[in-house]
Amino acid sequence: MLYDPGIPRGTALSSENVNIARLYRGLQYVRRVEESVAEIYPSDKIKSPVHLSIGQEAASVAVCDVLEQTDYVSGTYRGHALYLAKGGSLKGMLAEMYGKSGGAAGGKGGSMHLVSQEANVLGASAVVGTNIPIATGAALSMKMQKNGRIVACFFGDGSTEEGAFAESLNFAALKKLPILFVCENNFYAIHEPLSARWATNRLCERVATYGIPTTLIDDDDVLKMHDAARQAVDSIRAGNGPAFIEYQAYRLREHVGPNEDFNQGYRHEDEAAVWRGRDQVARLSEMIDPEERARIDADIETEIDAAVDFAESSPAPAIEELYRHVYAD
């Protein structure tokens, strides 16, 4: 699904020869999809909460650029970017948000539980922190199967406060599991700032005490993120066990819903301004050839239009579907 102007995904790239066009394509794709979701939202066609990643797309896009298709990813309710970057079907995503039968989960999961068997998206959980052990178990599975695959697990800063995070780190490090932990630190859990939740901000240091190599990206830089992901993935694939990246970026929209929320009082537009200045979509858009960029942009719009059409016209699920999938055969 990701645009590929030549260099195959998964190819080792130093940050010097990273494929900027492909990264731009990935970022712009997620951004535009989410902007479209936000535009559609007031129509009430999307009958599901939406947690947008606008402003923090870079971690998913950079990591998935480095992963193989056969690798797994696991994410959260704020999971559109990850699902799309890993190659989840856009049609499936939009139809899912519309609650239609053509959705990624046939309408049963909604925006918060995007999943793709084809793209190896292990799903997404709306109970904060719960995907971390699941991803860890998938990594255990990869290791036991000796199949060379790895797992990338994404979660927010709030997730790190759940006990399951510490438990998972210890186990992953103990068993040298092939897993990349990516904390997307956007400084807030809903409206609560880190200062109300973290005793200190020494997260990387803490993770390192498990013997896990860590990297902090504190400025949303997609190229640094790509570089860190590449090194981490190489190390993991070499059998060195887990790696951890703390990626700091800013959620530009409200916690849940399509709008901005700087009028709500819990955070200030000034804070956002710094991060807007670092916008990676804008940055990369200036690094590539304008014609190529126009082509990429046009392709994306076409793809989005087609997916919206698909979602609109996909039939509602039949009532019998309610009773399917409670148990697997």
Partner: protein
Amino acid sequence: MSMQIEQRGRVLPYVHAIREALAQEMKADPSVFVFGLDVDDHKGIQGSTMGLVDEFGAERVFTTPLSEDAMTGAAIGAAMTGMRPVHVHIRMDFMMLAMNQLVNMAAKTHYMYGGAFNVPLVVRSMIGKSWGQGAQHSQGLHAMFAHVPGLKVVAPSNAYDVKGCLIEAIRDNNPVVFMEHRLLYFTEAFVPEESYTVPFGKGRIHGADGEAAADVTLVGVSNMVLECLRTKEILAETGVRCEVVDPISIRPLDFDTIAESARRTGRVIIVDNAWVDFGTSAEIAARIAENDDLRHVQIRRMGYAPTTCPTTPWLEKEFYPNPATIAEAAYALVHPDKPGLSVAPEKVELAYQAQFRGPF
């Protein structure tokens, strides 16, 4: 004997009644404090804790890290040593993270320590519904808690009861699982201004109108009380008369009030806001069943479909009982030989939208 409700005070929405109960108890007792994720933000748990931090300060009203397990333990520890914490979860589903502390510690403390310590703790949580809440934001899990001696479980269905029950819960020297429902938040009832308590273990019967005995008893849990009251209206048009029983507290359970109504009507439908199997409706049915002199009573149970809750509205609407499905079941029970009732969808929607103004 079931309780009657008072019809005094202002008409207040459920959410404000919660807030008022918290504020009054915090004012009356400095050992009461309110904590949990997001209780102090500008949305204040959908309004139910709004402004408390301004009134009582950040030491008594505070958010926590996302650490439900340890925060529950912390609440227990504080409760054991002189405080009266109210711990808030915005969804009941998240209480699964707190299960170990609630079941293995809170419920057991007073007993396994031979009475040396009490746990005067209230754990508030809300059941979600609709708009894509789905699998993990919609569960009514009260039966799990009600199974455990040492815990109390309450599910007030209206603004009057929610205030009185919350004050009762805060003053109770035991851990109380306090279950709210998102869709009840804006339902209204008369609520006295002053502080009052609604005791646990006493239900209410909302009787059939007029003198004749009712045909069927509907026992509703949490917001299903509202759905049952609407069912009663729908069925009245068909000549079928209902009594609606609201047990209010699940543990202790006022079985006498249920039995009294069941004996009268000979037919009981229990409508739970939860799965049927191994749920609260099973306990109520079982209590009737083990009563030899209630063996004439016909019993039916309704609740969630035996599935996970789907997000898509097309399936979600089949997942829950509603006044139409309840009315149809009740009608079939009362008139097994008549053709089945079919309720127009418009009639059902009212149940969600109507502003209940008590008395109930």
